[in-house]
C-alpha cells in the first residue's frame, strides 16, 4: 500500500471509531464539548503515531529475533504505558501550555483500545517502520476527526429537546451510529478509484 493509501484507509475507510470500534470509551466520554474533544484527539494522535513506531521496533528487534512473539501483548501494553508516562514528562518540561491542554487526557490513553489496536494491526499488516508511523498517525487523525464531529453535534444536541431516557449516552450512541452510516460511503472502491 502507498502512504496515501494508508492515510485514506485509516482516516476514512477503516476509521477506528466508526468502523473498527476501537477507542469508543473516550469517544462517548470525552466528546461533551469541542475543546476537550480536540485536546483528547491530538493527545491520542500523538501517542498512536509514537506507539505504532515504538512497538514496530520492539517487535522486529526484540520479539522476533528472540522468538518470544507470545509475549507481544504484555510487552506492547507496557511499552505503551511507559510511552504515555514519558510523553507526559516531556510535554510537561518543554511546553507547560501544551501540558495544560493535553495533560489530563494522557493518563486515560493507556487504556484506549485504539493505541494497542494500531500497534497490533500494524504488526499484522507487516508494515515497515515508516508505514507503521504513518498508519498510527492516520488512525489518530481519524479518531480526532470522529471525536471532533461528534462533539460538534453534541453541542448542538444540548439545545434540542430529547426524550428523557435518550439523554446523554444513548443519544451519543445513536448519533455515532448515524455517523457510521455516513462513513460507509468511504469504502475500498473509493480508494481503488482514487489511486488505482
Amino acid at each position: 500500500m502507498t502512504y496515501i493509501g494508508i492515510i485514506i484507509t485509516f482516516v476514512f475507510i477503516n476509521n477506528f471509531i466508526l468502523t473498527q470500534f476501537l477507542g469508543l470509551c473516550p469517544f462517548i466520554g470525552v466528546s461533551k464539548n469541542i475543546e476537550s474533544a480536540v485536546g483528547m484527539g491530538f493527545a491520542v494522535t500523538f501517542v498512536m503515531a509514537l506507539a505504532s513506531l515504538a512497538t514496530w521496533a520492539i517487535q522486529n528487534f526484540i520479539l522476533v529475533p528472540l522468538n518470544i512473539e507470545f509475549l507481544q501483548t504484555i510487552t506492547f501494553i507496557l511499552v505503551i504505558a511507559s510511552l504515555v508516562q514519558f510523553v507526559e514528562l516531556v510535554i510537561q518540561n518543554i511546553s507547560p501550555a501544551l501540558y495544560k491542554a493535553l495533560g489530563i487526557y494522557l493518563p486515560l490513553i493507556t487504556t484506549n483500545c485504539a493505541v494497542l489496536g494500531i500497534a497490533i494491526i500494524s504488526v499484522q499488516s507487516k508494515f515497515n517502520a515508516l508505514e507503521s508511523f504513518v498508519a498510527g498517525f492516520a488512525a489518530g487523525l481519524g479518531f480526532l476527526l470522529a471525536i471532533l464531529l461528534m462533539s460538534a453535534i453534541r453541542t448542538k444536541l444540548d439545545s434540542e429537546w430529547i426524550p428523557k431516557p435518550f439523554r446523554g449516552i444513548p443519544i451519543a450512541f445513536i448519533t455515532g451510529g448515524l455517523m457510521a452510516l455516513a462513513f460507509m460511503a468511504f469504502d475500498k472502491a473509493l480508494l481503488t478509484n482514487l489511486i488505482g
Partner: protein, 185 residues
C-alpha cells in the same frame, strides 16, 4: 534509594513470574497451534490437488501476487499444473488463497485460507460454493474480475462484496498468467 530498589525488584519479580508462566503455557500450546496450522494446510492442499501428487514448495520472489507454488504431477510423474500460494487484496486486508491451476492456465480449484472480510458479505468467500464462478476459467474464457462477466444470479449474490470478488479474481488471473507463461516448469 533503597525504596526505589525495593519497589523495582518487586515489579521485576512480578514480570519475571509472568514471563516464566507464559513461557510454560506457550510450550504446551505452541506445538498444538503449529500442528493445527500444518493440518489445515495439508487438508487444503489435498482438496486443491484433486487426486494428483503435490511436489516440493518453491518460493517466487518477484511477483506481487504469487508467493510460491507446488508443482502438481499425475501418476506417471508428468507435470499437469500448479498449486499456487497467492495473496490478494480484499476489503479488510490481505486474502490468502490457495489455488490449483493447470499448466494451460485453467483454474481447477480454489480455497480461501485466511481473510478479514465483513461477515455476511465478503466472508461468504470462505464457502466452497462461492469459488464455483472462477473454476474452469482462465484457459479459454478469462478469469472473471468484473461483475459484468458473471451471470445475473452470480452478480446478485456478491452485491455489497464486489471488492472481495475482484480481489480473488485478480489474484487468480495472476496465477493463471503465471502458469501460462511458465508452462511445464
Amino acid at each position: 534509594m533503597n525504596d526505589i530498589l525495593r519497589i523495582g525488584s518487586k515489579l521485576a519479580l512480578i514480570c519475571a513470574v509472568a514471563a516464566i508462566s507464559l513461557g510454560l503455557v506457550n510450550a504446551v500450546t505452541e506445538p498444538k497451534i503449529n500442528q493445527m496450522r500444518e493440518q489445515k494446510l495439508m487438508n487444503a492442499l489435498k482438496q486443491v490437488a484433486v487426486g494428483m501428487e503435490v511436489g516440493k514448495y518453491k518460493k517466487v520472489a518477484d511477483n506481487p501476487v504469487v508467493k510460491g507454488y507446488y508443482p502438481l504431477r499425475d501418476n506417471s510423474g508428468k507435470q499437469k499444473g500448479y498449486i499456487f500460494d497467492l495473496v490478494g487484496m480484499g476489503y479488510g486486508g490481505d486474502l490468502d488463497i490457495i489455488a490449483g491451476v493447470s499448466t494451460k492456465g485453467k483454474i481447477l480449484s480454489v480455497v480461501m485460507m485466511n481473510d478479514q472480510e465483513t461477515p455476511g458479505l465478503g466472508k461468504e468467500a470462505e464457502n466452497p460454493e462461492y469459488m464455483k464462478k472462477y473454476i474452469g476459467t482462465g484457459e479459454i474464457s478469462p478469469v472473471p474480475v468484473r461483475k459484468s462477466q458473471l451471470s445475473q444470479e452470480e452478480a446478485d449474490a456478491i452485491t455489497g462484496a464486489s471488492i472481495t470478488f475482484m480481489g480473488i479474481g485478480k489474484a487468480l488471473e495472476a496465477a493463471s498468467d503465471f502458469a501460462k507463461k511458465e508452462g511445464v516448469e
